[in-house]
Symmetry: C2
Subunit: 240 residues, 2 copies
């Protein structure tokens, strides 16, 4: 039942010991040095380093080197306002609109929004930052007529505020499905992570008070930094 540990995992553990007493920011030996030190190939070292990077324990910069890192965790509580939540942690949230389009919905989107296949939706792609650093890439899909959406959104910043004030759309309830994903090249590029890095994906479907689906949003958070916090009062629920 006990799986044999691959060599790169052992190397990873050795690297953890190596950096245990190092201050965040301090440089580590190069990949080539680590390979010589651990008498292994550079590829094996790279696998070990990738796993540590996925956990935010090291930061790797091409051309510069690999550095010990303190995981800079961001916690977001489900029931609270994202921005207020971050501010209460002393963080500075901001966001940037990357693209706003209007076109046919892909099958998963139209299904989530209860549209007929190929129905038209507005698509808003935003980058979410904390203290100026990218944290998440969010693509919202919104059905219905939303004239001048980009301008209205740029004026207010908040998508929900925009929906409510500019279009009379008020959200009543939402369902978040949390899962893992691997960063696509596009996501990797805008978030400053590697393609294939583990990400925390949240797919939200929100409905208004009449039960109409008014939003389907897929958000991809950096797995090394983001933590989703859900609280519950007990009724015997045993999630685990």
């Amino acid at each position: 039942m006990e799986a044999r540990a691959p060599k790169y995992h052992l190397v990873m553990e050795q690297i953890v010991e190596l950096i245990a007493e190092q201050e965040p920011g301090s440089p580590m030996p190069t990949e080539r040095d680590l390979a010589a030190r651990f008498a292994t190939s550079r590829t094996t070292v790279r696998q070990a380093l990738a796993a540590l990077a996925a956990d935010g324990r090291i930061a790797r910069t091409q051309g510069s080197g690999t550095f010990v890192a303190e995981p800079d965790r961001v916690y977001v509580h489900q029931m609270t306002s994202y921005s207020e939540d971050l501010r209460s942690q002393g963080r500075q949230p901001s966001s940037r609109i990357l693209e706003v389009t209007h076109g046919r919905a892909l099958p998963d989107v139209s299904a989530a929004l209860g549209l007929e296949p190929g129905g038209r939706v507005h698509r808003v792609e935003r980058l979410r930052l904390v203290d100026g650093e990218p944290l998440a890439l969010e693509v919202a899909h919104l059905p219905g007529r939303l004239p001048r959406l980009r301008a209205e959104l740029e004026r207010r910043g908040s998508l929900y505020e925009t929906l409510r004030e500019a279009y009379g759309v008020t959200l009543a309830r939402a369902e978040d499905v949390v899962e893992t994903g691997l960063a696509s090249p596009h996501e990797a590029g805008v978030l400053g992570v590697d393609t294939g890095a583990p990400m925390l994906v949240i797919r939200r479907t929100a409905h208004d008070a009449d039960g109409r689906a008014v939003e389907y949003t897929r958000s991809v958070f950096r797995g090394d930094r983001f933590r989703f916090v859900a609280r519950s009062a007990f009724d015997g629920a045993e999630v685990t």
Copy 2:
């Protein structure tokens, strides 16, 4: 801003097209065949296949081959009983006790439970299965005196039921922190996934009505199958 897509990502997309019309269970070309077909190295093909396996779209068996798979998703709602939730989805949940120990808590555990460093805790390691297939590895840490814990737990199956009925411990509220993780060799072995496969990790801290921490549990779910669902009523919360 657009990152160059690594070759393995392109190969992955080609493989997706290749299997788009295939039935789940149907065999795919071998790694060596795919490498020849896409004029690339087997290592690059393997990277592409690993990404698809992480999403549950293919199943890889050493010595046998690689097969198209239908992601067999399991959805668990935060506010409901795990077992009842699964049964309502027509699934058959079960669990198996792997190990029950009593010893010194590691620093993260003692911190989570508000114990002094090295304080003693009971540790219960369980495998969670759905329809006979491993889904999660769960390690619960429980403070206090819990005599004959293993026997009591084996009698009842449910940890919370055991705590309540055998030890008078009733949980009042819990906080779940959801994050990504990579499967350790141990986790990989018991869950039947590869070391390093992306996992959804839920760390739960539960308190009783007096605010005492009575449980700290880390659960590691297969990222290719497990989805954590959280619902909220709106108060302007904008998680994404």
